[in-house]
């Protein structure tokens, strides 16, 4: 049985941890003080690079590498903390904000020290009213205690934190959409390049980091890189010779929801399998697992045959899915995949920002097609290819074959792939919202095609048994294509 490994959440349940004094008793701000006392800013950047910390926001991009792209000579430089946790199925940042906001402030301080940043914006999801209240209170307290503001602890370090509530758009969780929204414009992602590291908030270099990523920093500094890298697997990237280390170090806040007995946030080392995670969460509620969404609603779905996939950035990417924000949704045998897809597509059609053409008009189209299938109006036709020959009854007759063509399924796949092609991983859109739409659409369809076909055939939502609904591994292209990475010795 896998044990929880609480680091970020270690003191989450301590009463009053949201206050400065209690936080201070639990090593609070000690790591920041260690950082400014013992390390130069560049040392910390190097530690972060060596720790192999990957951004927890969704893309899993190396934090140290991202920092290295920030030009050193352009000031001011900004830190933008992405607390716009809007991916369906994800709710880990929320607990940090609501229960332990000082940890985030400490992470911000370390990042600001390392990067020479004086101004931080925390973009908080508009619905997190409690989280914003708690963070604002903590910031006020930190100012009062001299851990924020001008000349912190007499070191000459200046850090200001401003919180900014979002207005409820999913796309403002995308880093450039967030920046636009922060600047007071419509929340529409920018064209990249230039990336925010070069040109971000107010056209200045900006480090955009997720709450969870920043919360990891105090522990990397406090406990050291050695300790940190022991957690989680380090794979070898075999495209290089010798294999290049691909670290998936640290812990991850897995948000487990859906059909499990004990849903919630679990902090676990990266690299455990999907099946293990379901066990940690109290096992599946109901008979068996039908499907698992491994990383928020935009991640491609995993079937029951793929439950041995390890839940870390590299393994899931190579399994043609993604860890994303770590929002894991488990579905049992009672769930209808068409209905689930409809639910997700309704969300994405509503949340498309409407800036670029494929997404603006593609997402509602995809939703409408799924809606039509779910309503029982999916199109199907039968092609007959007659052939004159000796039939089964021994007489001359038609020995031709018939083929069922499900036009709407082909259309669905084609339209989704036209927004963003999941096979080549290319998108015609400005941001990755496009692939966030077509990934679920195409993966649900490909992996649970029998259920879609049954729904069209029967003219109503039809839930098949798990066995019958799932495309077997030998016919599942994504399953065939998946690569299981090998840990570096």
């Amino acid at each position: 049985m896998v044990q929880e490994k609480r680091i970020l959440y270690e003191h989450l349940d301590v009463p009053g941890i949201n206050t400065f004094d209690v936080f201070r008793q639990h090593d609070g701000y000690a790591r920041f003080e260690k950082a400014i006392a013992e390390y130069q800013p560049d040392d910390i950047a190097k530690m972060v690079m060596d720790s192999g910390l990957k951004g927890r926001g969704g893309a899993g991009f190396s934090t140290g590498l991202k920092w290295s792209f920030v030009p050193k000579d352009i000031k001011p430089c900004y830190l933008c903390c992405n607390a716009d946790e809007s991916e369906p199925g994800t709710f880990s940042n929320r607990y940090v904000l609501e229960k332990n906001p000082h940890l985030l402030i400490e992470g911000i301080l370390i990042c600001c020290y390392a990067m020479g940043i004086e101004t931080t914006y925390v973009y908080i999801r508009g619905e997190f009213t409690l989280g914003k209240k708690m963070l604002d209170a903590a910031i006020k307290e930190a100012y009062a205690k001299g851990y924020l503001g001008k000349n912190i602890r007499g070191t000459g370090l200046n850090v200001d934190i401003y919180t900014h509530p979002g207005a409820g758009a999913y796309i403002c969780g995308e880093e450039t959409g967030l920046i636009e929204s922060l600047e007071g414009k419509r929340g529409q992602p920018r064209n990249k390049p230039p990336f925010p590291a070069v040109e971000g908030v107010f056209r200045k270099p900006t480090v955009v980091q997720n709450v969870e990523t920043l919360c990891n920093l105090p522990f990397i500094v406090g406990e050291g890189v050695e300790w940190y890298t022991q957690m989680g697997p380090t794979y070898g990237d075999t495209r290089f010779d010798p294999p290049k280390p691909d670290p998936n170090t640290g812990t991850k806040l897995y948000c487990i929801s859906g059909d499990v007995n004990k849903p919630g946030v679990y902090e676990l080392e990266l690299g455990l399998t999907c099946a293990e995670l379901v066990e940690v969460a109290g096992g599946v509620r109901g008979q068996e697992v039908k499907a698992v969404i491994p990383g928020g609603s935009s991640a491609p779905i995993l079937t029951r045959y793929e439950l041995d996939t390890r839940l870390d950035f590299t393994s899931l990417t190579l399994a043609k899915s993604m860890l994303g924000s770590g929002g894991i949704i488990v579905m049992n045998e009672t769930r209808n995949i068409v209905d689930c897809l409809l639910n997700i597509m309704k969300f994405y059609a509503h949340e498309s920002c409407g800036q670029c053409t494929p997404c603006r008009w593609g997402t509602p189209w995809v939703r409408d097609i799924v809606q039509r299938i779910a309503d029982g109006n999916g199109r199907k036709s039968t092609i007959t290819r007659p052939r004159f020959g000796i039939a089964e009854n021994g007489r001359w007759g038609d020995t031709g074959e018939t083929e069922e063509i499900y036009e709407d399924l082909d259309l669905l796949e084609s339209v989704a792939n036209n927004i963003a092609n999941v096979d080549t991983m290319t998108w015609n859109t400005i941001c990755v919202f496009g692939i966030a739409v077509s990934w679920p659409a195409v993966s649900y369809l490909r992996k649970f095609r029998p259920e879609f076909e049954a729904t069209i055939r029967e003219g109503q939502l039809t839930t098949l048994s798990v066995e019958a609904a799932t495309v077997p591994p030998e016919e599942n292209y994504a399953y065939q294509q998946r690569i299981v990475p090998r840990e570096l010795e």
Binding site: A169, N191, A349, H350, G354, T357, G362, W365, N428
Partner: protein
Amino acid sequence: MAFIKLNELEVEVEDGTNVVEAARQHGIEVPHYCYHPGLSSPANCRMCLVEPHVFFPPAGAIVPDRQLATGCTTVLRTAPPDRKLDGKYDFIVYTDSPRVKKAREDILEFLLVHHPLDCPVCDQAGECDLQDFSYRHGHDKSRYLEVKNVPPKKDLGPDVLLYSTRCIVCTRCIRFCQEVSGSSELGLIHRGSHDEIDIPRAHDGMPLQLLDNKLAGNVVDICPVGALISKDFLFKSRPWFMKKESSVCAGCSVGCNITVEYKEDGVYRLKPRFHGEINQHWMCDDGRLGYHYVNSDDRLQLPMTRVEEELRPTHWADALTQVTEKLSEADAAEVVVIGSAQGTNEDNYVLQQFAHEVLKTEQLGLFGALPGEEHVFPQFTIEADKNPNTAGARQMLSNGAPVLEGEALWQKVSEASIVYLVNGAPGRPLESVEKAALESVDFLIVQDVLPSEVTALADVVLPGTTFVEKDGTFTNSKGWVQRVRKTVDAPGEARLDWEIVQQIAKQLGGEMGYHFAGEIAIAIAENVPGYADATHQNIGDSGVKLA
């Protein structure tokens, strides 16, 4: 200069050119909607996707980039020597690879998902980018079965209608209002597939703000589809029935390059034409909508003479005889000839020649500046002088001697017995000084296009022509000499202004012998300082800047 490989072509382009422009310069079309050379590039239509080729170190080869790039934001620059592709190219880009073609088809399919196929009743049909690119790059049919969005039709301002159903949300109009006019009336409301262009509606005590800036008409031009429509042109004509001629706007001294679109029965609309140093891609609404007097039913069609205190139509021979009789009797010192800043350089030059050589008078004037307001926008200026050719007329009329203007002119006029006045400005008001001076004249000959306060005082009225009815040149306030071209015929028996003058000169015994405006331009080139290059052959479509 960047050396790039564009499809199979090896071409050189200026540093800083984007792929769309580079391709256009070499005759390759990269379809685009949101990109406009006069505006910023948001790359939101995704239509101009092209395929860059990059060096891929693991393979040690140049391969197509994983993602397609938008041509409008892909800027071509000279690469450092160690980053050259194939040892020589600064950039390799394909605009016609199978991936690009597929992407274009897909984008067009999405664009047409909610677009109504109402081309038969759409004003834009025939000059619509969506039609053209669908035809050249799109699918032959739609796979969309669902119900289309039907956002409402909106009245945005005095001259602009929005058919929201046709809108493809390229945001060109929004960016125009932000960047060029600086007035920011337009914006997007709603989100996703419900995006709509709109103006600020009245809310919470804030007033409704109409799209009524002086440049608003340009949003109709830059709209790639038939969403923004000019009320002035609505349902007037199909674009392909109109003939087009390059010309210059006569609305003010900026001299915006325009295309006059016309049929036999009149001018239908004016559209701006690109000129990098004068008007860029734009023109103002005053100029755009100011052509209506040309088609007016009130236009002077016949010469008129004053009989029993009343102007009565007569025939040319009669009117010209009266004029020549009076002029031949008069003393040169009592004659004042006044040219018009509405007339072409050719008109004014012939008038000057007539005054100097035939009438032997030095009393040459220029009918003063037409009062107006100056409007300055971030990227455009409408000048206060509402005459198109003040600078040119002054140079033509002076030809050595000073030109009478303002008070000096009206002083002379009040002392004169015969005044030959060319007006041509529709609806010009007369100030009291001017009116008093003209009333004191014994015999007032007026050459004009419309009944005006000047013609009301005239003894003989000669019908002249407007800027769309004659060939010639205008000189703008910055010294650009540009061509106006004849499009429609003058109404009734109205004649070219310089022809009338030449005819009078002939009857007075002076021979000029010009047959067409180009000949006069050659004479101007020989005689007027600075105009040596300004012959019609040299000027072409883009004008000549005076030395």
